[in-house]
Amino acid sequence: MKPRGIRELDAGPVITNPGNSILIKTGSWRSFMPVSLKENCINCLFCWLYCPDMAVKVNDGKMDGFDYDYCKGCGICALECPGKKGKKAIVMQEEDK
């Protein structure tokens, strides 16, 4: 999002286009990224439930990967993931690896 100067802002501290936070890509905060391993996923959706950044995509009641534009890489999903037979369906990987 392009920063606006004082003259371009709306008069008064009013935000006229709420929900515009989607223009801020918080994915750049991340140092570890979650990676989904489909074969271990049981679609319990705990990752979606606990994700603080709405970064888990769900399609038709099934977990469908991550939204890396917004994922801050906190790792809650990987820790809460029950996985299948003790094997996690989400693992954290260092960025750029």
């Binding site: 802002l9 709306d10 929900g19 936070s21 918080t26 439930l49 606990y50 994700c51």
Partner: protein
């Protein structure tokens, strides 16, 4: 009682948008997202300066599409009363007014406005999200900071005073609904809000929020730590509905069950580094005494837990 919400029956409609400025692993973000799902679109929010203001967006960014009024620190409940007055003048009775304040904005600075609004019987829902210090301004101690926690304004051995029991203070106003919840049990929170929405008059929620930055733990443990606080009996999930107190969810399962030693919870966070073994024992004894009281109260009045056991 309505059937319990599961993760599959939770509404998919997102009212908090990504790109918000909450820290990675913020517990408030989880609770807020789930709470707004329960409150629905026909809601007006009233928010004082707090972590939530930062989460929702620093001007000119807003992370939710719901109308939101930012008010001064001391006047959250008064601001909500004003919004209610405006709605009444317009003849609108369907819109929910939800005030969201932090623990400082509720227990310290905003308590007189909240107490006044509860006494007047204003028809609003007040949420206090309790991350146990003034996290937004840099971890200063608040009334609800627990005993022994180190903040930037406590001695290095941690806070000497006990945690202020805000839900009990509010319940003493005799309002219709007071509930505690935790960000680690979002479905419990969702069900409680759904129930509160069907009632009128002042309703109060106290939500325990793990804060990675302020408590000193890795962000990924946020949900786990909130759960440990409940499992150790340090924070209880309960509701007081028309004067009737009952434990709910995970806390009710602790009656007659085994509680996690509070030491497990305390030693995972750097803010409790200053606690000696002796003080940990003292905290454990206080928790044990509290739960003995609960068990006695349950025994004396068996139906307090209700017939709808899980």
């Amino acid at each position: 009682m309505a059937s319990k919400t599961t993760v599959l029956t939770l509404p998919e409609d997102e009212l908090v948008h990504p790109g918000n400025r909450a820290c990675a692993g913020c517990g408030l973000s989880i609770a807020y997202r789930i709470a707004l799902k329960a409150l629905g679109r026909d809601t007006i929010l009233v928010v004082p300066p707090s972590c939530l203001t930062v989460l929702q967006g620093l001007y000119p960014i807003a992370a939710t599409q719901l109308p939101c009024l930012n008010v001064t620190f001391a006047s959250t409940a008064a601001g909500a009363t004003g919004v209610l007055g405006a709605l009444r003048a317009l003849g609108n009775t369907s819109t929910t007014v939800a005030a969201w304040a932090g623990d400082g904005g509720t227990s310290d600075i905003g308590i007189q406005a909240l107490s006044g609004a509860c006494e007047r019987g204003e028809d609003f829902i007040f949420f206090c999200y309790d991350n146990e210090a003034y996290m937004n301004t840099g971890v200063q101690r608040s009334g609800t900071t627990p005993q022994g926690a180190i903040t930037t304004t406590t001695p290095f051995s941690g806070k000497r005073q006990q945690k202020k029991d805000v839900p009990s203070i509010i319940a003493a106003h005799g309002i219709g609904y007071v509930a505690t919840a935790s960000a680690s049990y979002p479905l419990d929170l969702f069900d409680k809000i759904k129930k509160a929405k069907t009632m009128s008059g002042p309703r109060y929620f106290h939500i325990h929020i793990p804060c990675p930055a302020g408590w000193g733990f890795e962000p990924r443990y946020a949900v786990k730590l909130g759960r440990m606080a409940v499992e150790s009996g340090l924070f209880d999930l309960y509701e007081i509905e028309n004067g009737k107190w009952r434990l709910t969810g995970a806390s009710r399962k602790l009656i007659g069950g085994k509680r996690r030693p509070v030491k497990d919870y305390l030693e995972t966070q750097s803010r409790f580094k200053g606690l000696s073994e002796k003080r940990i024992d003292k905290i454990q004894k206080e928790i044990d005494a509290k739960w003995d009281g609960y068990e006695q109260a349950m025994g004396a009045q068996k139906d307090i837990a209700g017939p709808d056991a899980e």
